[in-house]
């Protein structure tokens, strides 16, 4: 049976499944309930099949098959599934499974507002696009799949179109992704001019033909192009706008998995195709990674819109993945392949972990917004008493994302720390200082992420409700809880069995061309313990987890029974120096992060505006109402994108003069152009 699943037929059947899902949901678009049921179940079956396929492809062998079409010699629908793409198919299908299960309950509240069929159609196209992106092995076909993914996700972002800024966010998303795609297209063209083909395998073999300067240009183009999709710092402005706009189970999929396709292509191009790699590439990726990590978490702290906060955290985690990838690049250029494999393993492990806990957080945020109909955290508070299960899942997600031990976030960050530490032990001083700064950035990011999620969880779930909507919020439906529950258990399982997963990532790496000449197989995990090479350190997840459970139980038993026999506990009011406590007095999310914002004022540029309204304007002594407006200036908007925008519009106004309106003039332009081109084409 396994060789049936893992054959070409298996993968095509996977795409076929999503195709039926898409068309089916269009057919049933009239009846909402049927469309929802059809779309969710076909997505679940598709993702299950995908998981089996990925596991099979992982074990059996990498396969590549193509259907070259007669239309044009360059474009051939060729797939090449090696261990790396199998891993990404696994991640995509895994998250799709849980998002679709969650979707069954979540889509109910869209019922007679928007057409469910359209949602299903684009949802399936989006997943099929992603699957094709990670398996395409021909440049043009890759671009088509990339475009399909972006367009489908655009329609999903603007799905909730009554809200104006959703549409605006969708537009910004479309423009930014296509700017990124433009960079990618130019990169592929450059590769084509020098290697003569779009096929990844042939590019890989003829990589030596590309002169060094051109290779650097291709690197920069690819970094910018895929960085825009992954959301690294200077090109990230679409991410906090677009992800919150989409329906929650889609934004979970987008920020859990779609931005990873950028990472996949970076690995594919830098580590697989354009070998050997100069040193400064790795350093560049490291710097970009640490900047994105640090700034991502700082901006997350300033947010009080819960989904924007999670979107900024995706940027932070992408930064961490890039740290792993960057150190892998640095070590390959230094020729130290075992450490490079460690770096790559750390990056991939964090990709898997981030996909799980980020989608868990988005799903639980989605059901919170579903009940309270607002995304503003200042309006939440005390939800743990109304939605205990969702609170528990959000709690597990925030513990995993701030890398606290029993959960999976810690172990991937442990691996990244080990790689950076090995980097610090490396030779020349400049490289060492880069690694020291990267470790400092990673450490600070860990701390700030913890601060941010204490704020997010505390402001949303703890203390007393701060707005009336919270009082009639009910627990999310069964399917939503099952979806979130599955992801929460996955977070724990990935954490506890990180040892076994470690060896998995090592043999993904060995297949890439950068590591073909592997002197000896690097063991980064034996049995259940993760081991850093050269005996640098080791941690075993199951023992740690067992220790946790043991100690917590002994403490509870000791305290509860041995020591404290006849003490009774009363329920009293919160004591606050005797004042009568109102919900307004408890700390809000802006208040919580205010001290950090003031500390990092240089970067975040907080601004405060006071508006005071007096009883009688002549005598300015008795203010009637005082409005304080706290905001942080978005420096990208004002320093990078605004001047760019005005430059382009200025130029285009000057060119407007050629639009004279008379047809004859236009035809004369055509004539002149024809003559000139023929003339020049000598």
């Amino acid at each position: 049976m396994t060789n049936v699943i893992t054959s070409e037929f298996g993968f095509l059947f996977l795409l076929f499944l999503y195709g039926i899902g898409a068309i089916g949901s269009l057919i049933f678009r009239k009846n909402d309930v049927l469309a929802n049921r059809w779309q969710s179940f076909s997505a679940i079956i598709g993702s299950l099949w995908g998981i089996f396929f990925a596991m099979g492809a992982f074990v059996v062998r990498d396969m590549s098959f193509a259907f070259s079409s007669s239309i044009s010699p360059l474009l051939s629908f060729s797939f090449h599934i090696d261990q790396l793409s199998a891993f990404f198919i696994f991640v995509i299908s895994l998250i799709t499974l849980f998002c679709s299960v969650y979707g069954i309950g979540y889509i109910k509240h869209y019922y007679n507002k928007y057409s469910i069929g359209a949602l299903g159609f684009f949802y399936h196209l989006f997943i099929a696009g992603m699957l094709m992106v990670v398996t395409a092995s021909n440049g043009l076909f890759f671009l088509i799949a990339w475009e399909l993914m972006s367009i489908a996700s655009y329609f999903l972002v603007v799905y909730d179109r009554n809200d104006a800024n959703n549409v605006k966010a969708g537009f910004l998303y479309l423009v930014m992704t296509h700017v990124g795609t433009a960079f990618i297209v130019v990169a592929f063209l450059l590769i084509y001019t020098y290697t003569g083909s779009f096929d990844f395998t042939s590019i890989q073999s003829q990589a030596a033909l590309i002169p060094a300067v051109i290779k650097d240009v291709i690197f920069l183009l690819a970094l910018v192009g895929f960085g825009t999709k992954a959301g690294i710092i200077p090109f990230h402005i679409w991410l906090p706008a677009a992800h919150p706009a989409a329906p929650s189970h889609v934004s979970a999929l987008m920020s859990g998995v779609m931005i990873k396709t950028g990472i996949y292509m970076m690995i594919r191009i830098f580590l697989d195709m354009l070998q050997p790699v100069p040193l400064w590439w790795g350093i560049m990726v490291l710097i970009v990674g640490s900047v994105s990590a640090l700034l991502g978490v700082l901006y997350a702290l300033t947010e009080h819109d819960i989904k924007k906060l999670l979107a900024y955290h995706s940027i932070e985690n992408i930064g961490i993945i890039l740290l792993g990838l960057g150190s892998a690049l640095v070590f390959t250029s230094l020729g130290n392949t075992p450490l490079a494999l460690l770096g790559l393993g750390a990056g991939l492990f964090h990709t898997l972990n981030h996909a799980t806990f980020k989608s868990l957080l988005f799903l639980s945020a989605g059901s919170v917004i579903n009940q309270t109909h607002t995304r503003n955290m200042e309006k939440f508070g005390g939800l743990i008493k109304f939605m205990p299960q969702t609170a528990l899942f959000f709690f597990v997600g925030s513990m995993a994302i701030s890398a606290l031990p029993p959960f999976n976030g810690f172990f991937s960050e442990w691996l990244t720390f080990q790689t950076l530490l090995q980097g610090i032990a490396s030779a020349d001083i400049f490289l060492k200082s880069i690694f020291i700064l990267a470790t400092g950035a990673l450490a600070a990011t860990g701390g700030l992420a913890l601060a941010c999620f204490v704020k997010a969880f505390g402001a949303t779930f703890l203390a007393r409700p701060r707005s009336p909507e919270v009082f009639h919020a009910q627990e999310s439906s069964l399917s939503q809880s099952v979806g979130m529950g599955g992801l929460a258990i996955l977070c724990l399982v990935c954490g506890v069995f990180s040892g076994y997963l470690g060896s998995l990532f090592v043999n993904i790496g060995t297949k890439l061309s950068a590591f073909q000449a592997m002197p000896q197989i690097l063991t980064i995990s034996s049995g259940s313990t993760l081991i850093a090479p050269h005996g640098f350190g080791s941690v075993s997840a199951p023992v740690l987890f067992a220790l946790f459970v043991l100690v917590v139980f002994t403490v509870i038993i000791l305290i509860k029974f041995a020591v404290n026999k006849n003490q009774k506990t009363e329920i009293g009011a919160t004591w606050d120096c005797g004042t009568n406590l109102t919900p307004r007095m408890e700390i809000t999310s802006t208040g919580f992060a205010r001290s950090i914002i003031l500390i990092f004022a240089g970067i975040l540029r907080p601004s405060v505006q006071h508006e005071i309204e007096y009883h009688d304007s002549a005598m300015r002594y008795f203010p009637k109402s005082r409005i304080v407006n706290l905001s942080t200036q978005d420096i990208y908007q004002s320093y990078l994108y605004q001047p760019l925008n005005s430059l382009i519009t200025g130029l285009s106004v000057r060119f407007k003069v050629i639009q004279s309106g008379s047809m004859n003039v236009y035809v004369s332009y055509i004539l002149i152009v024809v003559v000139v081109t023929i003339f020049l084409s000598q």
Partner: protein, 215 residues
């Protein structure tokens, strides 16, 4: 068929374009166009005789029916219906237009265009003449104000392109046949829509009034 007969047909084509420039009345322009398309059909028929592939025959028939007969009849009825006897003046006065036509023919003979014109070295002269025909018909569209002569300009450009393709020895390739049929089909749409729209909207066929559309 020998070269001289082909040269004669191409000469007819080129002269008809020149005549289009000179024509004062629309009626004369349509007659010139009819002559031109019949020259093209004969040319196609000649090349069919050489290669006698059925497709080419089909193409010849279609061009004959549509371009040589249907087009001019359609234009004549249009002119009678709207009594548009005089074609409106041109932008450049007559001598200057002729000078430009001369310049075009000279240019097309430059060796700069050699890769185009001597695809088949034998009929180098024919190809350059066909190229000149394309440029002049393009210039016709620029020069004329009223819609009918512009439409005819477009059509004559098509004919000269077909001629150029035939001389360049492309008549066999499916691309050419496909192209010809396709362009005839397009011709039908453009001609009808374009002229009726303009007429209904502006009351006259003078395209210069379209200037107000500019935002």
């Amino acid at each position: 068929m020998n070269i001289t007969f082909l040269q004669f047909l191409l000469g007819v084509l080129f002269l008809s374009i020149i005549y289009l420039h000179l024509a004062r009345k629309n009626f004369e322009a349509v007659v010139a166009y009819a002559v031109q398309s019949s020259a093209i059909t004969v040319l196609l028929f000649a090349s069919f005789l050489e290669t006698n592939s059925i497709y080419l025959l089909f193409v010849v028939l279609v061009t004959l029916v549509v371009k040589a007969i249907f087009g001019p009849v359609f234009f004549f009825r249009l002119i009678q219906k709207h009594k548009l006897t005089y074609s409106v003046s041109t932008y450049l006065n007559m001598p200057l237009a002729l000078i430009i036509i001369a310049v075009f023919t000279a240019i097309s003979r430059f060796q700069q265009f050699s890769p185009l014109t001597n695809i088949i070295p034998a009929n180098h002269a024919l190809l350059s003449l066909a190229l000149a025909a394309i440029f002049t018909s393009l210039f016709l569209i620029i020069n004329r104000k009223d819609a009918i002569s512009q439409a005819i300009g477009v059509l004559s450009m098509e004919n000269s392109i077909v001629a150029f393709a035939i001389f360049a020895g492309l008549e066999q390739s499916p691309m050419l046949q496909l192209g010809i049929v396709f362009d005839i089909f397009i011709w039908l749409i453009i001609a009808t829509v374009f002229i009726s729209m303009i007429y209904r909207h502006f009351g006259s066929l003078d395209t210069s009034t379209m200037k107000h559309l500019k935002d």
